[in-house]
């Protein structure tokens, strides 16, 4: 029995962390998740899978775009025509609001609509019986341990499969508790034949027997969602371990690369290095027909001269990875972001203990006190930001990078001789 396991489609979710791109790329970005899912359905049809599981977060938000809905319906209809049943539930992103009815799906779709664990008994093409357990989100968070509600495998069917959209309780971030937290042990104890998990965008096998795994998202949308994305085709057979095959779906991949700066590098050296990185990924892209979005980190930036660092920070080097030349369809390679990191101590004022103390006190206040908010409020209290981007105020990453960069900037501009981190010596 073959199962296609896919999750976290986030069909209408845009690519984050990319500056304005060329039209062609822009178009490709928009189309990428759709292409990925369409491919997924095509593969399912070609492979003649018995069941098609979608474990939550089909859409990015509870308010879905019509285009995405229409697209999703069309794909379900394709599966219906191919005679493939679809079992799906709603995730934390596209949770089914209380005031909203579930859309009318084609007849091959079995959707868990309740927040209570429910079941569907279906039959495979080979007349094997399968029971699916699952639940859907009806609100943004589910803090209960839903695993407790899943029954022990009653053994009434040939196979039993669980669909769970949630976070692993042990160490998957601080807010794992908001998303139906579970432990692998809990799942194993249910004695199911397969656990199809959703929510985490990085594919990963949590347990081999029985197979418990996240399929990950189908298309990385952020520089943190690195590498290839896709789905799993799982083959279950009585009395033998499950066969597991990853299917690549994403037409666009996020990649990260690091370039170590050298003491005597000038702008053109860096450009050359970046071009080399781009060239490497270009050959990758051409081979796999998957476009590549790169995040390049220039480490040990302190080794470059002050002016050059400023230029990089201001994005003046971006001409090296301009996307304007990429006006053709087909896989592209773009640099979404260029980071410059400095590995150095912040002991700038060691000649003056007094000042040094003062500097550290201020830095501390920036990081922990409200100094950062005081400084940034001039900007964050701008009506537009308050209206549309209130989250910026609490953006920790932004805060962290700003403070760090500010320190480095100050030290550099003032012209202290920079000392690389001692632990490097």
């Amino acid at each position: 029995m073959k199962i296609m396991h896919v999750a976290d489609l986030h069909l209408d979710s845009p690519f984050k962390g990319m500056m304005k791109q060329s039209k062609v790329i822009h178009k490709q970005l928009i189309q990428a998740p759709y292409q990925a899912f369409e491919r997924c359905v095509s593969i399912a049809i070609n492979q003649e899978v018995d069941f098609f599981l979608i474990v939550g977060d089909v859409y990015n938000a509870e308010k879905q775009t019509i285009y995405a809905q229409n697209f999703f319906m069309n794909q379900l209809t394709r599966l219906e025509k191919a005679g493939i049943p679809v079992v799906l539930n709603y995730g934390n992103h596209d949770y089914l609001r209380a005031d909203k009815k579930s859309p009318i799906y084609p007849n091959n779709v079995y959707a868990f609509l309740s927040e209570d664990v429910e079941q569907f008994d279906l039959t495979s093409k080979n007349q094997e019986t399968v029971r699916f357990y699952g639940f859907s989100y009806r609100q943004k968070w589910i803090k209960e341990r839903k695993t407790q509600e899943f029954p022990l495998n009653p053994g009434e069917t040939d196979y039993t499969i669980g669909l769970l959209h949630g976070a692993l309780a042990d160490g998957q971030g601080n807010d794992a508790g908001n998303y139906a937290p579970f432990t692998v042990q809990e799942l194993v104890s249910k004695q199911y034949d397969y656990w199809a998990l959703g929510h985490i965008h990085q594919a990963g096998v949590l347990n081999a027997g029985p197979l418990i795994q996240y399929s990950g998202t189908i298309q990385g949308r952020h520089r943190n969602e690195l590498g290839d994305k896709g789905a799993y085709i799982v083959e279950l057979k009585q009395n033998s371990p499950a066969k597991n095959k990853f299917v690549s779906l994403a037409p666009i991949l996020w990649q990260s690369a690091t370039i170590e700066c050298h003491q005597d590098w000038q702008a053109n050296d860096i450009v050359q290095q970046i071009e080399q990185v781009i060239a490497n990924y270009r050959s990758e892209a051409e081979a796999s027909t998957q476009s590549q979005i790169l995040t390049i980190t220039l480490s040990n930036g302190q080794r470059l001269n002050q002016e050059l660092q400023e230029q990089i920070e201001k994005g003046e080097l971006s001409f090296a990875f301009e996307t304007s030349g990429l006006e053709v369809d087909g896989p592209f390679v773009v640099v979404a972001k260029l980071y410059l990191t400095q590995n150095m101590t912040l002991d700038a004022f060691q000649y003056d203990e007094n000042l040094n103390q003062s500097f550290h006190a201020v830095s501390q206040r920036l990081i922990e006190g409200n100094a950062y908010d005081d400084i940034m409020k001039d900007l964050f209290q701008h009506s537009i930001i308050q209206n549309w981007l209130p989250e910026l105020k609490d953006d920790k990453e932004l805060k962290h990078s700003i403070i760090e960069s500010a320190q480095q900037l100050m030290i550099q501009t003032i012209g202290f001789d920079i000392k690389e981190d001692t632990h490097e010596d």
Binding site: D12, P14, F15, K16, G17, M18, M19, K20, H26, I30, K63, T65, I66, Y67, A68, Q69, N70, K100, N305, D347, Q350, Y351, D352, N354, L355, Q357, S358, F359, A361, V362, S363, L366, A371, Y372, I375, M376, D378, L379, Q381, H382, I384, I385, N387, W388, L389, L392, L398, S401, I402, I403, S405, A406, Q407, L409, M410, T413, I414, G415, F416, D417
Partner: protein, 958 residues
């Protein structure tokens, strides 16, 4: 830390130069270009590294030696935490060693410097003129901050950087601004966000659209069902309506059948009747046709009147035709005769004209013959006269010819005379020429000369005749002889002229001429005689001719007629012969005319029947012949008609027979069917047929009504049925009409839904705003890090300012007081700012102080700071002519301060100030101008080189 020794291997102008330096104050005195700056740079280079492109912050020049010496040198540092150490730095190596030469780790220097880099060193330990001059450029409100900042190490520079950040971030964003990049980005973001929000409201509409669609779909479905039901009903009703008509027809057929009787009729009876009826009909028609033809033919026959006449006059017609043939010939002859008579008349008329007579006047009798004889006599007389006339004319001609000859001769003679006279004139001219007087001239000359000579000699020479006399004589003789000779010759010519033969000849010819003249005169007389004779004869001929004319008229001829013709041919006779001939022809004509008249009377009966207007004989003949032909034709036609009449009669008889046969058959048929007549028979036949028809129809109706019998039986009337049908149709129509708006509504919904479903704009906008967000983040990051950096600087400094070191304050007070000779006693530093206290206890703000005092304040603070920093790090101070602008008094106090300061601190003072040179002890100073003059020369030459090369270059550029 102090610098003990500078050992320069090669640095700028300095090569292999060593300086030992005081622990306290060390003055380097020298004019410009003496190498002060080079030395300062050397110290910096040794401590912090050679200037590179990257590190050129305070060292504008590079100092690689020019002549291939080793670049660099070494410093001996004392009072370091590692004791005395050598810092050696060249372009090849960098070592730190103890005074004893033991190698120390490279980072020893770093430790010695305590984290101080070149920038900081310059900020804290180096003074120059520029530092002081900057003071005047600081705004009044900032100057307090500035002085405050001196309290912290190098903070003036930090503040400048912070200010720069502030400026940059303000350029990027300001809360109230519109056009700053970040502001613009924000408003772009807002418009995008608003756009998306609008689209989201659209999406909410989508659900309601879907619901509406379902609703409409249901309504349409219901209505369609209703319509289907009605359709079915209508179809049923329609069938009933169609069959009801049949039902009615069936009922009628049944009723009709009930009253119809069937009669046995032999097979094909009606056909037999029809055939025979037709035959009778046809025969009747044929009879009528032939009777009609018969009547026509008989009529035609009757109308042929000529036929009768022709048949009645058969014999006469034959006689007429024969006679007419004869008359035809006679007529031809008659016409010929008439023609002849005409010819004869013409001949006669012609004869009279040719014979030049009047026919009525002439006659043919004896009298006429006599008269002719008379004419003969007159004619012979006339002939004689004419002969005579001819003879005389011949004579006259001979004489005239002779006279002409004489006259010719005379003319020839006259011509000859004239010629000769001309010759005579020529001769005279010749003579004149040959006897010219000129011929004598020479002779006379000779003669005269000779005489003269003789005469001269004669009178001049007494001694006898000299030779000249003889000679003269000879000449005179010669002249005389010549004259004589010429004279004789002339005479001869004259004689010859006078005796010329021409004269004789002329005389002779003149005589002959006279002779000819006389002879021609005699011939003229003869001619005149003959002329008169001719005139007489002509008169006579005239009279005879008159006589002859009179004769001609008398015998009936024209007066102009030629008598000769009359006499020789006798034209009158011919005329009369022709006349006789004519009379003969006229007799013949009369005979023929009589014959024709007789024929005319014979054919009168014919003309009576067939009259002819034209009465000429020829027309009559043709008429008779034509009539005869026409009559013959009429007879033929009559015969043909007769034959056709016979034919028709036969046909009539035959048809009558046929009719009888058919009638017999018919009457037999009637008897068999018991019919009185054909009408009855036919009625019976049609009744039979009707019965069959109705029966057939009824079976058909039955088929069609199969299954509907009961329903049909229940129908009241057709009207009721139709009304039911129409009401159903009406209902269906109404239902369909109700459907239309729902269809439209559904279509509209579908369009809208489709539009929403396939509109990718939202996706695009979402991606766009995400990109914009990133852009914005990037800018916020840029703005934020600079802002934070700015604050970091401000706050770090403020922190330092908030906690000034008390010792430093005290020190600053002391130095300031010394510098100002006690005018100012205290510097008050606190959070709010800096003030100075005058000896009068009045506090001044920095901006209230003079530039000079500000400079002193600055120096005081800087020195106090250095003093204070001693705990952390002790570095020599480099002063680069900072005080050149101070007046003498201030300089004095300044140098005092330096002197004092150098007790604890090494001070390297580079200056060209003479006062400074004089202010310090000799062991404290190094006069650079006095060192190594050769190097100066070198440098000069180098500079010259440069100058040269520069000028060269300029030239080249030119």
């Amino acid at each position: 830390m102090k610098i003990k020794t500078l050992d320069i291997y090669g640095y700028g102008k300095w090569v292999n130069q060593k300086f030992d330096i005081n622990d306290g104050l060390q003055l380097f005195y020298g004019q410009n270009e003496a190498g002060k700056s080079t030395l300062q740079s050397f110290i910096r280079s040794m401590l912090f590294g050679f200037p590179t492109k990257r590190r050129r912050i305070n060292q504008q020049n590079r100092y690689e030696p020019r002549h291939g010496e080793v670049y660099g040198g070494r410093l001996l540092l004392t009072d370091t935490s590692f004791g005395n150490i050598w810092i050696e730095r060249t372009n090849k190596l960098f070592t730190v060693t103890t005074e004893e030469g033991d190698r120390l780790p490279d980072n020893t220097l770093e430790k010695v410097l305590g984290g101080l880099d070149e920038t900081l060193f310059d900020n804290f330990y180096a003074f120059n003129l520029q530092n002081l001059q900057e003071l005047s450029n600081i705004d009044a409100d900032k100057i307090s901050d500035y002085f405050l900042s001196i309290g912290t190490l190098g903070s003036d520079k930090f503040l400048a950087i912070a200010k720069e950040y502030e400026k940059e971030t303000d350029g990027l964003y300001r809360k109230q601004a519109q056009n700053r990049p970040l502001n613009q980005m924000l408003s772009e973001f807002e418009s995008l966000a608003e756009n998306i929000q609008r689209m989201e409201t659209n999406m909410a509409r989508y659900d309601s659209l879907i619901e509406q669609q379902a609703h409409q779909e249901k309504i349409i479905q219901n209505l369609n069902q209703e319509i289907n039901r009605l359709d079915l009903e209508i179809r049923e009703k329609d069938k009933l309506v169609g069959r009801y008509d049949i039902y009615l027809k069936d009922r009628a057929a049944k009723r009709e059948l009930e009253q119809l009787v069937y009669t046995e009729i032999p097979e094909k009876g009606i056909e037999l009747l029809d055939v025979n009826r037709k035959r009778i009909e046809e025969s009747n028609t044929a009879i009528i046709q032939n009777e009609e033809r018969l009547r026509n033919l008989q009529g035609e026959l009757g109308s042929l009147t000529r036929l009768n006449w022709a048949n009645n006059h058969v014999d006469e017609r034959r006689k007429w035709i024969v006679e007419t043939q004869k008359t035809k010939e006679a007529q031809a002859k008659f016409e010929q005769t008439v023609e002849r008579i005409q010819e004869q008349n013409e001949t006669m008329l012609q004869l009279a004209r040719r014979g030049q007579f009047y026919p009525e006047k002439v006659s043919q009798d004896l009298e006429y013959n006599e008269k002719v004889e008379e004419g003969l006599a007159i004619q012979s007389q006339l002939d004689d006269l004419e002969k005579h006339q001819e003879a005389v004319k011949a004579e006259r001609k001979v004489y005239i010819d002779q006279r002409k000859e004489q006259q010719n001769f005379s003319a020839i003679v006259r011509q000859q005379v004239a010629k000769l006279e001309n010759q005579r004139l020529n001769e005279e001219a010749q003579l004149m020429q040959s006897t010219s007087l000129n011929h004598y001239f020479l002779g006379f000359i000779f003669l005269l000369v000779g005489i003269v000579v003789v005469m001269i000699n004669f009178f001049s020479s007494e001694g006898g005749p000299s030779i000249y006399t003889w000679l003269g004589l000879a000449i005179a003789v010669l002249g005389f002889l010549s004259i004589t000779y010429i004279f004789i010759e002339h005479r001869k010519h004259h004689a010859a002229f006078k005796n010329s033969p021409i004269i004789e000849k002329i005389t002779e010819l003149r005589k002959k001429e006279v002779q000819y003249h006389e002879q021609s005169k005699a011939l003229g007389t003869e001619i005149n005689e003959r002329e008169s004779a001719l005139e007489a004869i002509a008169a006579e001929i005239e009279s005879v001719l008159t006589q002859q004319k009179r004769w001609l008229v008398a015998i009936g001829f024209y007066p102009t007629a030629d008598p000769e013709i009359i006499l020789k041919t006798n034209p009158v006779k011919q005329y009369f012969e022709a006349k006789t001939q004519r009379a003969h022809f006229e007799a013949e004509r009369e005979a023929l005319n009589e014959k024709i008249s007789k024929w005319r009377s014979e054919i009168k009966p014919l003309l009576e029947r067939f009259p002819l207007v034209d009465d000429s004989t020829r027309s009559l003949i043709r008429h008779v012949e034509e009539v005869e032909v026409a009559l013959a034709r009429s007879q033929e036609r009559g015969k043909a008609i007769q034959e056709r009449i016979e034919q028709s009669r036969e046909l009539i008889e035959k048809n009558k027979l046929l009719i009888k046969e058919s009638e017999a058959i018919i009457s037999k048929l009637f008897k068999e069917t018991d019919s009185e007549n054909e009408l009855v028979f036919r009625h019976k036949v049609s009744n039979n047929r009707l019965i069959e028809d109705l029966q057939q129809k009824r079976t058909l109706y039955k088929d069609q009504m199969q299954g509907f019998e009961e329903a049909l039986a229940e129908v009241k009337t057709k009207q009721a049925l139709l009304e039911e049908f129409q009401s159903l149709e009406q209902e269906r129509m109404l239902t369909k009409e109700r459907l239309t708006p729902h269809h439209n509504e559904r279509a509209n919904l579908l369009v809208e839904i489709n539009l929403l479903e396939h509109d990718g704009t939202y996706q695009e906008q979402v991606q766009l705003i995400e990109s914009k967000k990133e852009e914005l983040r990037e800018s916020i990051y840029e703005w934020g890090r600079k802002r934070v950096a700015m604050e970091l600087i401000y706050q770090t400094l403020r922190h330092g300012m908030d906690n000034p070191v008390p010792e430093m304050n005290q020190q600053a007070d002391e130095i300031f007081s010394t510098l100002t000779y006690g005018r100012y006693t205290q510097i008050k530093l606190n959070k709010t700012g800096l003030k100075v206290k005058q000896f009068s206890d009045i506090l001044f703000e920095p901006h209230e102080l003079s530039q000079g005092t500000l400079e002193q304040l600055y120096v005081a603070l800087r020195l106090a700071f250095v003093e204070n920093a001693l705990k952390m790090i002790n570095m020599p101070i480099l002063i680069d002519d900072a005080f050149v602008n101070f007046d003498e008094i201030r300089k004095t106090s300044m140098y005092q301060v330096l002197e004092k300061f150098s007790e604890n601190h090494q001070v390297l003072f580079f200056t060209f100030d003479l006062q400074a040179k004089e202010s310090f002890a000799e062991e404290q100073r190094i006069d650079l101008d006095e060192i190594d003059q050769t190097l100066d020369i070198k440098e000069n030459s180098y500079e010259k080189d440069i100058e040269e090369s520069e000028t060269h270059q300029i030239e080249m550029e030119d």
